[in-house]
């Protein structure tokens, strides 16, 4: 089952008197399966937060449709099963940590007994039980993030939207939040993360979508996206020089040549086999052939650059 289903979603922000129009999302399609950790990546202004806000009914779409947990997003009752940690969230400054969870719990339609039970559990989970009676106006950014995560979980949601969940959190705290998310994933919850911290998204996400200027430019598993299917790293047992390789494979794109290997860019497997044949025919001993893997960050930068370049042309 798809937890989130978005079809042809378009959002255009218009200034008063329609003097200025900004397209935040354009014909956006997306499906997120149940029980997955889905990472939404993109530079600032790509439309990530707009998408989440549309799914939560905070912002209204201009065109298209969206369903969350099988229900239309205009049905506010569906939010009983959703948890949300907004970016730069604020809670009433006069409440303490415990009060925030009680207040949010009651608004989420959670029973009093359940709130009593979950308040203690969640504050312990995010390591905020020591500060439960401290007013939130005294909290640091990291403490606010931890409390924000706890409030997003108060209704034991099926679907969790997290917008920059580790923003302002120290490395140990980030690891703890990651562990919590992994635990939630193992409990079968669907987690939707917006983040700039690509390395973190890479560590916990099953699938990733990349947005740029309101358009979906790539979507897939982290493995798929970080594996460059057209580039192979060929390692040789024989010592080589750049001249040798260029002489053996004059018509192919080769890069990063070292004394025992190089990277080969081909269009298909047939071309790869032709290269292998040529190398072997020259007497060069092949040690290994592997797909080149990029970090999510490298892939992200390369995709965004390509997308910007294509748009400028």
């Amino acid at each position: 089952m798809n937890t989130v289903e978005v079809s042809n979603l378009t959002k255009i922000y218009e200034s008063p008197y329609k003097k200025r129009r900004v397209t935040a999302l354009k014909d956006f399609d997306l499906k997120v399966s149940e029980g997955t950790v889905f990472g939404l990546l993109g530079p600032n202004g790509a439309g990530k937060t707009t998408l989440v806000k549309i799914l939560l009914g905070i912002v209204f779409q201009t065109l298209g449709s969206a369903k969350v947990l099988g229900k239309n997003i205009s049905n506010h009752e569906v939010r009983k099963q959703i948890g949300y940690l907004p970016e730069n969230h604020k809670f009433p400054p006069y409440l303490n940590g415990e009060d925030v969870l009680r207040y949010v719990g009651r608004l989420s339609g959670v029973s009093k007994q359940k709130i009593d039970q979950r308040t203690g559990e969640l504050l312990a989970l995010v390591k905020m039980d020591k500060w439960r009676k401290t007013k939130v106006k005294k909290y640091s950014k990291g403490m606010m993030q931890r409390l924000g995560l706890a409030q997003a979980l108060i209704n034991d949601p099926t679907l969790l939207f997290l917008d920059e969940p580790t923003d302002g959190v120290d490395p140990i705290g980030r690891k703890e939040i990651r562990d919590i998310l992994v635990r939630l994933k193992n409990e079968g919850k669907t987690i939707f993360i917006n983040s700039h911290l690509l390395s973190e998204v890479e560590l916990i996400s099953d699938r990733v979508a990349i947005l740029n200027k309101g358009e979906l430019i790539r979507e897939g598993t982290v493995e798929d996206l970080t594996t460059d299917k057209e580039t192979y790293s060929i390692s040789l047992a024989t010592e080589i020089t750049e001249d040798i390789i260029k002489e053996v494979l004059p018509e192919f794109s080769v890069d990063k040549i070292t004394s025992h290997g190089f990277e080969l860019k081909v269009n298909n497997e047939e071309e790869l086999n032709i290269c292998i044949d040529k190398l072997r025919a020259t007497g060069l001993m092949i040690k290994s052939i592997v797909h080149v893997k990029m970090s999510l960050e490298d892939m992200f930068i390369s995709l965004i650059n390509e997308s910007d370049k294509a748009k400028n042309e």
């Binding site: 730069n88 604020k90 809670f91």
Partner: protein
């Protein structure tokens, strides 16, 4: 209903936290102390003695004196009470709409209409409680001092709260449109202190000019703008045991309240945050 109650409760809590309740209660207590001191300094025996000698109708004249005192209290109570109420309630909506706060609120299973209803009820309850404290306190002081326990004075609790509710509808609407507490406060003061009194005198103004356009404009504005000035007069009349002879100001002000709240809900329900 639970959601409305929760937002109402949170608004009251916000009023406590922002010292609105304490400020109100402090000013009310100060007024009550001043009245207590003033009443204590009036020699009632001398006063009633002189009245008896002069008229022989002590009871009736005492009620006249009390009526005068009530009128002396009600006019500043209505104006001052509403002035403070508008000042304190103008920030409820802009605070709620602050980035970061509104995201948390709107992501919960609660309709936007319920949020507006909760905010309205919370703000009105805060003002009602404070007005009730002050009016009840004055009524008790008058009763204890003069022995006159006329409950009609207590009606002012409801008329002042009603006048506030009408203006609060406007505060909510401007708050949603502009997200500015200053603008909401200024426009409401403009209606309360300038526009409503001017429109209340429109017949006198029109005696000075036979301009038909002006007459139409003043008439239209008169029926649109809440009639806080006339609600003040009604409050004064009711406080001294008078009867309500004209329902029109109450009726049209109530319509204004319903329309501003409905418009607030419609705009709030369509706005992106």
């Amino acid at each position: 209903m639970n959601n409305v109650f929760e937002i109402t409760k949170q608004t009251i809590r916000e009023a406590f936290a922002r010292k609105i309740f304490i400020m109100f209660a402090g000013i009310s207590s100060l007024i009550l102390i001043l009245f207590a001191v003033a009443f204590a300094s009036i020699g009632l025996e001398d006063l009633s003695g002189s009245i008896q000698v002069e008229t022989g109708q002590n009871r009736g004249v005492m009620e006249e004196v009390v009526g005068g005192i009530k009128l002396f209290i009600v006019v500043p109570l209505f104006g001052g009470g509403l002035f403070l109420s508008i000042f304190s309630a103008s920030s409820f909506i802009p605070n709620m709409l602050e980035k970061g706060s509104i995201d948390v609120l709107l992501s919960k299973p609660i309709s936007r209409a319920q949020i507006i209803h909760g905010k309205f009820l919370g703000g009105t309850f805060v003002v009602f409680t404070n007005i009730a404290y002050l009016v009840l306190g004055i009524w008790l002081l008058i009763g204890l001092k003069f022995g006159v326990w006329d409950p009609s004075f207590l009606i002012t609790i409801f008329t002042i709260t009603f006048a506030f509710a009408v203006l609060y509808g406007l505060i909510i609407l401007i708050g949603i449109l502009s997200q500015s507490s200053i603008l909401a406060m200024m426009l409401t003061y403009l209606i309360f202190f300038i526009l409503s009194p001017i429109l209340n005198m429109r017949e006198q103004i029109l005696l000075l000019s036979d301009n038909k356009v002006l007459e139409i404009i003043l008439d239209i504005l008169y029926y649109i703008v809440p009639k806080t000035s006339e609600l003040g007069s009604i409050t004064s009349d009711l406080a001294v045991g008078g009867s309500l002879y004209d329902y029109q100001p109450i009726f049209t002000s109530a319509i204004f309240l319903i329309l501003t709240l409905a418009l607030s809900i419609i705009i709030f329900s369509k706005k992106d945050y």
